[in-house]
Symmetry: C2
Subunit: 387 residues, 2 copies
């Protein structure tokens, strides 16, 4: 396998883009990534597109081909991949593989979703496409239900409190205020969080990521072909994809997602680094409690201490490990298929030293994208190439 | 890149499977392919699943993870890929790449679709997800409309007649009669075809593939790891994926699909063979006229002679080139995401010498899977490993 680097990134703001066709959002992010990389379209040898629910919500598929057509790419393989909320991270891993295995010297990967145009009931039904509906449909659980159960279990076992979980919300919403791409940054008090409407007890409104539109894109290249480009190349140390159970009953313990644990272990091994080497992580905080669980599953915070570390500020900018300096899904938004690429966009800017919420001296960054009930997971490790 | 072989295949019958959840159909075909290969689930290092419209028609996504879960596969990367009607062929190419590039020694690929449970209007809307609906939606064209236009142009330029097109229908429907997996084999007369209801002039009912449910699966392995398995390995000489325009206006000539032409050229070059070396092809006859166009685009029949060759019996069993001895999409059916894998299933049995419609002495076989308006295409070339 060849060494592969990220040479360009692009992103639309996450939020509401009502009236913009989904493929146009993707084209916008992709064109920005190509311009950022400073390479010609003719050099792109493969396109991957991450998307989850454009079929049910837009009546549009073959988005990879549509986007390539509108971008004016050559006659190259163009593939949409889907793994629920991990679609973007999975698409990135495939672009990395296409270059690492020598199929092409440069690949473009874009993630996209549009959701805000649809009524809430339709969005909920579409998101539930990520569940095992034959086995779990009769329970009536949607994703807030699943993460509400996980919170109860985490609180019961580790004493995780409302105040600790609120610390995650406050941190991510505050980080989002400084991120121009973020949909819902805010300065919130514990009282405001506690007073927000109940979504699915114990989850309240501010514990849940918003519904979002958006697109993000990354250009990857073989390290030995990336000379002379304008941006500092970012090394891809690891790009890992794992799976867990689709059935809720397939998870004996809701305080952990096995797919995250194994993805992190494989990523550290592949990169030859330890969790303590990671300077920042963009992880999958679809709900506040998810950040706590993910931070433990990734080995960044000791098991059971996710809530405590958040409350003590150890996961804030300047803490032991900066978690979601972008604002995360909670504040930046969660246009599902775009989220994994949006995380990479953020980490690349951190490692270039050009992030509006800069982690000082950031050398190694991580992304973590989790799909469905933990049925699919991707984890990446990136490093400044001059580090 | 390592040499890769097909060591096992499985398929459900194509047709109506009302009441069977889509993931169960996929599991059935995949389990059959694993049993045919005679390998343990623990040896599978990657899963690809081809599917097009389970989101809109079933409210189910993450099918790759769902199927892996129910099959009892280990914690491996499981990815759904989508490229409209070419989803199955694209999934196969990815499984081949996973093994060829050394990521794993064995990969499982399955294609699946269920459609017959949905009302026709919903099926038509779902199939139109494969169009560029922003640009072509206002024309009101559906896929029969597109292929009706192509027929008009082919007839105008080359004199292709109703009788010649009917020869394709008669051949494929007759081939389907001998294929136990086929949905709609029949012995038809020209008069019966001409008397069938008009769907979209000049296309009549028997010119159109039926709506189908079904699943098919293939197990691929590194050639040097496939010793001692029960079946004759089938060499993968080429697995190619290309793209064309998503917009109808992007095709200056509807008598040809550029994505097919370039996929075939690359496949022949990759395999180091000529079109005349191909003993049989399973190609994408979603409509009768499509078989004529595809056979010319693949270089198997001289340009403009597709209709003539069919009428002269040169594309039948025992002719110059056996086209769709399985019955093709017209008779075997077209469960969209499964079709590309179903073609591989058929060609593997031909090359093993175990097909109910055996092409005598078959040594090299081809598959051709075309998506949408020609926006995505995959072509594969297979050979008996003892040939």
């Amino acid at each position: 396998m060849r060494d592969v680097v990220i040479v360009g990134v692009g992103s639309t703001p996450f939020g509401r883009h009502a009236g913009t066709p989904i493929e146009q959002l993707a084209v916008r992010a992709a064109a920005e990534a190509l311009a950022d990389a400073g390479i010609e379209r003719e050099r792109i040898g493969s396109l991957y597109l991450g998307n989850f629910i454009s079929g049910p919500l837009n009546g549009k598929e073959v988005l990879a081909g549509l986007v390539a057509d509108q971008l004016g790419l050559p006659d190259i393989p163009c593939t949409k991949v889907e793994g629920a909320c991990a679609s973007g991270g999975i698409a990135f891993r495939h672009a990395w593989m296409a270059v690492a295995s020598g199929q092409c010297d440069a690949a473009l990967v874009v993630g996209v979703e549009t959701m805000t145009h649809a009524p809430t009931s339709q969005i909920t039904a579409a998101l539930n496409c990520a569940m095992d509906n034959e086995n779990d449909g009769p329970s009536g659980l949607t994703f807030p239900g699943l993460f509400g159960l996980a919170w109860r279990q985490h609180a019961h076992r580790y004493g995780t409190s409302r105040a600790q979980v609120s610390a995650v919300v406050r941190k991510n919403k505050r980080n989002g205020l400084l991120n121009p791409l973020a949909q819902m940054g805010a300065e919130l008090s514990d009282e405001q969080i506690a007073a927000s409407p109940s979504i699915c007890d114990p989850l309240q409104l501010y514990d849940c990521c918003p519904t979002s539109d958006g697109a993000a894109a990354v250009v990857v290249m073989a390290a030995d072909a990336a000379g002379g480009l304008p941006r500092l190349p970012i090394d891809i140390l690891a790009a890992v994809q794992t799976r867990g159970s689709a059935r809720i009953a397939g998870h004996p313990d809701l305080c952990t997602f096995g797919a995250t644990v194994s993805a992190a272990a494989r990523a550290y091994a592949m990169a030859g680094i330890a969790p303590s080497d990671v300077d920042l992580v963009e992880l999958h905080d679809c709900f506040s409690i998810a950040e706590i669980i993910d931070s433990e599953d990734l080995g960044l915070v000791p098991r059971g201490h996710g809530g405590g570390w958040a409350a003590e500020g150890r996961t804030a900018l300047g803490g032991d490990i900066a978690i979601n300096p972008s604002g995360g899904l909670l504040a930046k938004g969660h246009p599902v298929g775009a989220t994994g690429l949006g995380q990479l966009y953020e980490v690349v800017h951190q490692l270039r030293g050009t992030h509006p919420n800069q982690v000082e001296g950031a050398r190694i960054g991580m992304t973590h994208n989790l799909g469905g009930t933990g049925v699919a997971c991707s984890v990446s490790l990136l490093r400044r190439s001059d580090a």
